[in-house]
Symmetry: C2
Subunit: 193 residues, 2 copies
């Protein structure tokens, strides 16, 4: 029987190479030759799967989105499904989340020009917001957070806070531990005293 | 008398061209030819002032830092020098601050590799933190913010929050008005009720 080629796996392999290059040297370094070398395949094969750089970057954004989602779902399944755990799972605290954050940053300017990438960012943000708002509401029911909070509004504040802290951690202005302490300080104000 | 060339002005002209290109298409689009065309001067002249792309990007980071600082100082002088005004001056709410935010984002990956650019980011962040902490302390003295707050810790939270809201505004997930409302909600918790 002939060996079957798993096309989806090949595409993922290429997207992973794009992510590593973008995280390391920015999107400016993402070229056909660099991607082929990083993925260990021929330029022709890269072109077979992605006829243009735009197509390659769009697919990379999609896989990034899936990865962040599954990491958060795992983080939440492993520990207690708390607001705190969900927010802290978004911090670039290890190699994987650090690469994700770098790639998301590298794609930001492009998201403003490419409607497909912008939609992906928007959908990811909306989904996170919904997840977090539901967790805030759950914590209110459990009596862990004040009953008079607006879950959506608090989710928006938490997402903005963790995005800003993420940049500070990436740049080395804060350690992940310091960022977590700031999140705790913020959360402490959302409980009934 | 021969016409004197203002070298500093020429450098600024080039840096402005770099910023426009980076904000529009990312650092990947910043090349000798593009910068010369955008600045309306010859490639040779660009090379005369900046022998390498690295040198050009470093200078651009420095001018960006100066511009953000002076805009905040102006924003604070024009209106009341409040914590709120200082924080909101950091939002990408108009063309100028939008370009600044886009360029800062475009430079983030590079900051991780180039110690000179990283130092510039760090110094800018430290200075903002100090300015904001001093304003929090002033507001405490004036009775506008709770006396029991730690000014540095609150400055850190505010800077993270506004950075995250800035990304959301850039990406169109939030309007500047919605971001300001979130800042107000956050600040309302820092007063004695």
């Amino acid at each position: 029987m002939p060996k079957r080629v798993n096309h989806e796996e090949r595409r993922r392999l290429i997207a992973e190479a794009v992510r590593r290059i973008a995280a390391d040297r920015g999107l400016e370094a993402v070229s056909l030759g660099e991607v082929a070398a990083e993925a260990g395949i021929s330029k022709g094969l890269v072109q077979h799967y992605f006829p243009s750089k735009d197509a390659m970057l769009r697919y990379t954004t999609a896989t990034l989105h899936d990865q962040v989602e599954s990491r958060i779902a795992n983080g939440v399944t492993e520990g207690a499904p708390t607001v705190r755990a969900t927010v802290l799972a978004l911090l670039p605290a290890d190699d994987m989340s650090r690469t994700e954050a770098l790639v998301a940053n590298a794609f930001l300017v492009r998201a403003l020009k490419d409607p497909e990438i912008a939609d992906r960012f928007r959908a990811g943000h909306a989904q996170l917001r919904e997840t977090l708002a539901a967790m805030v509401a759950g914590a209110q029911t459990a009596g862990d957070l004040s009953a008079d909070l607006d879950p959506i509004l608090e989710a928006d504040l938490l997402l903005a806070l963790i995005a800003g802290l993420g940049d500070a951690v990436l740049l080395g202005h804060r350690t992940p531990k310091e960022a977590a302490a700031l999140v705790d300080h913020h959360l402490s104000r959302l409980t009934d005293r």
